[in-house]
């Protein structure tokens, strides 16, 4: 389970994330959606221990990501924003490297690798060096190395970005499988159809804040729109209006003063 409360993160004079709170439960797929620059990646980076928040708390299975990074790292499998491979290592060696860093015993590790190669249907590239891998092949390797230690919490940053239909489907199947095993999945996306098809709960982000949260049905009720794409556009428009208003008022205050 992932519990986020009041996260705030700034870079120099830019506020990337402000007062972000939500919960991603076990046995559910939680979608983090929003336009580019909404703060999804920064939020995830705080959750997967690569960034420290200025304030607020991110708990993974009750462990604070900022204070006990190693405890958290043991419990998470992450497909980060950067998912580069080592051109001179084979797919299998990539997965083995991460598995060993997680301290898996050799027998268990090899079995886990074989299983992942089968479920992600990557037999054709398993023993090929990664140089020249397609986007889909690269993603499968990155996904396999993130999942080799069977983490209870899985975070995926834009997993299907730029993928062909087949690879996207492989990712979606994988996500459902993990959910059905009672594990917790949190993934970010700006593709509505994908979120609609996969998510039990949705957290909508805009300008570094959570602007709406709920099941797809709840969100539809809130905005009076049935189509998720419409919901998203409506929320984004509302958000933009609010922002404009706030800026206008701030300006007015300045002028008055």
């Amino acid at each position: 389970m992932i519990e986020v409360s009041n996260l705030r993160k700034t870079f120099k004079d830019v506020t990337a994330v402000e007062n972000v709170s939500f919960i991603a439960r076990d046995g559910e797929v939680t979608g983090l959606i929003g336009p580019n620059g909404a703060g999804k990646t920064t939020t995830l980076r705080i959750l997967y221990t690569i960034m420290k928040p200025d304030s607020g708390v991110a708990l993974i299975d009750g462990h604070d990501a900022a204070l006990e990074p190693q405890e958290v790292q043991r419990r998470i499998g992450v497909l980060p924003d950067n998912r580069g491979l080592y051109p001179r290592l084979t797919a299998r060696e990539h997965v083995r490297y991460f598995g060993r860093l997680h301290g898996l015993p050799p027998d268990e590790l090899e079995a886990a690798i074989d299983e992942l190669i089968a479920t992600l249907s990557m037999e054709d590239v398993a023993d090929r060096r990664a140089k020249g891998f397609s986007k889909g092949q690269t993603l499968k390797v990155a996904l396999a190395r993130a999942l080799v230690h069977k983490p209870h919490n899985v975070m995926l940053d834009e997993p299907t970005n730029g993928l062909d239909v087949d690879s996207s489907r492989a990712v979606r199947d994988m996500v459902r499988r993990i959910r059905d095993e009672g594990r917790c999945v949190l993934f970010s996306s700006h593709i509505m159809s994908e979120v609609e098809a996969l998510c039990d709960r949705i957290v909508v982000m805009g300008h570094g804040r959570v602007v709406a949260e709920g099941t797809p049905d709840q969100l539809a009720e809130m905005t009076g729109q049935a189509d998720l794409e419409e919901i998203f556009v409506a929320i984004a428009r509302e958000e933009a209006e609010l922002r404009k208003k706030a800026t206008f008022e701030a300006l007015k205050e300045q002028l008055d003063a």
């Binding site: 790292q73 950067n82 580069g84 080592y86 001179r88 060993r100 860093l101």
Partner: protein, 397 residues
């Protein structure tokens, strides 16, 4: 116990980096060829420059003259000494010398024979080009022959007047050469230390850049950092891999020096000293602390710089820095002091010089220099670990 301290995971990281880099055939082969450049250049210098600068035997010396028919006595004297005299067929002797056709030309003027017969002093010219290093020995030989001829004739003329030969020559100068080598090539021995230290700073540098700045730029550092191990362990694993490659490169250089020195000895060229295998083992051990220091500096630079290219620029300049004291010492040998032992690379330059010249390095200096460099290295490693903990380390800017 070691596993608990994190050595298991450090080993996993180091092993991965070594295997990864060994598969990069071109870089690996290049990194083993670079260390051979120093020994080969040194060998060539000793062989060619050393040979030209070594004195030719009197018997092989040829005095080139213009107007030899004016001075039959001189010609006879030179041939008696075992050298030869040749009349030049080139009119413009100045150009002939400048172009290196003759190392020097001795000109006997028109009035020489007359003045000689009248026992009067007469000026003869020796045309030389002082910018031609290779002519030095030949010029010296010719001057010596002229001086000897002068003394011979003076002796005969004084005898006619009933005077002893020592009247006109109150002093005899004899210089005694105590250099470790037979010829000027000994100066090249002093180049070995700066060359080796250059190797130390270049040997594993590619790996240090590739495993940090390179890994960041390829976007594989972010996922790697999410694995459950403290970042200092990750940094240390990469450090050990780079250090292993540095050590291998320096070892290749040291072995090549031994081979070249032995070959030069077999060819009978110039060097009086040939350091033993034990000396070379000691030289390698002296470089180990600087290897550790060099890789630590490289890790820091690769961590704080913004891109692979920027890192390459800085680390390309880095090897020049520690070579500076060594290069100065090639021409201006400095006396070792306790203080100089405390300075990384400077102390080692002195020590390597002492070992290779066969003077032996004092144990106290070896320990002092190694200890000081190691202490600084440990400090640098702590710094490198701190830089690795920074948030920015994962992201290309």
């Amino acid at each position: 116990m070691l596993e608990k301290l994190g050595f298991g995971k450090i080993r996993i990281v180091a092993a991965k980096e070594l295997r990864d880099n060994l598969r990069d055939r071109r870089s690996t082969i290049l990194s083993m060829i670079y260390p051979l450049i120093g020994p080969v250049v040194l060998g060539a210098l000793v062989l060619f420059v050393g040979a030209t600068l070594s004195a030719p035997k009197v018997a092989e010396h040829v005095v080139v003259v213009q107007g030899a028919q004016q001075a039959p006595d001189f010609v006879a004297f030179v041939r008696e000494q075992g050298a030869d005299v040749v009349e030049t067929d080139i009119e413009d002797v100045a150009r002939a010398v400048r172009q290196g056709i003759h190392p020097a030309v001795l000109i006997f003027p028109e009035n020489y024979a007359q003045a000689y017969a009248a026992e009067e002093n007469v000026e003869i010219q020796l045309i030389i080009d002082s910018s031609r290093l290779s002519s030095i020995m030949s010029i010296g030989r010719t001057v010596e022959l002229v001086n000897r001829f002068n003394r011979e004739i003076a002796k005969t003329r004084l005898a006619v007047h009933g005077l002893g030969p020592d009247v006109a020559s109150p002093m005899t100068l004899k210089s005694v050469n105590v250099a470790a080598s037979l010829s000027i090539s000994g100066i090249f021995l002093n180049m070995m230390a700066p060359f080796l230290i250059f190797n130390v700073f270049i040997g594993g540098v590619y790996l240090a850049i590739d495993t940090t700045a390179g890994e960041r730029e390829r976007g594989s550092l972010e996922p790697l950092l999410i694995n459950p191990l403290p970042r200092w362990q990750l940094m240390l694993g990469k450090y050990i891999a780079s250090l292993a490659f540095t050590a291998l490169a320096v070892l290749a250089a040291v072995v090549a020096y031994k081979v070249i020195f032995t070959a030069l000895g077999l060819l009978g060229v110039g060097l009086k000293v040939n350091p033993s295998v034990g000396d070379f083992v000691l030289i390698f051990l002296v470089t180990v602390p600087i290897q550790m220091l060099a890789v630590a500096v490289q890790m820091i630079v690769a961590t704080v710089t913004k891109s692979f290219k920027e890192t390459q620029t800085y680390l390309g300049l880095l090897p020049l820095l520690p070579s500076v004291p060594g290069m100065i010492m090639v021409f201006v040998p400095l006396q070792p002091t306790t203080l100089s032992m405390l300075v990384p690379t400077y102390g080692q330059t002195i020590l390597i010089g002492q070992i290779v010249r066969g003077e032996g390095a004092p144990l106290s200096d070896l320990l002092l220099s190694g200890g000081a460099t190691l202490a600084i290295t440990i400090g640098l490693l702590f710094l490198a670990a701190r830089f690795y903990n920074r948030e920015q380390v994962a992201f290309a800017h």
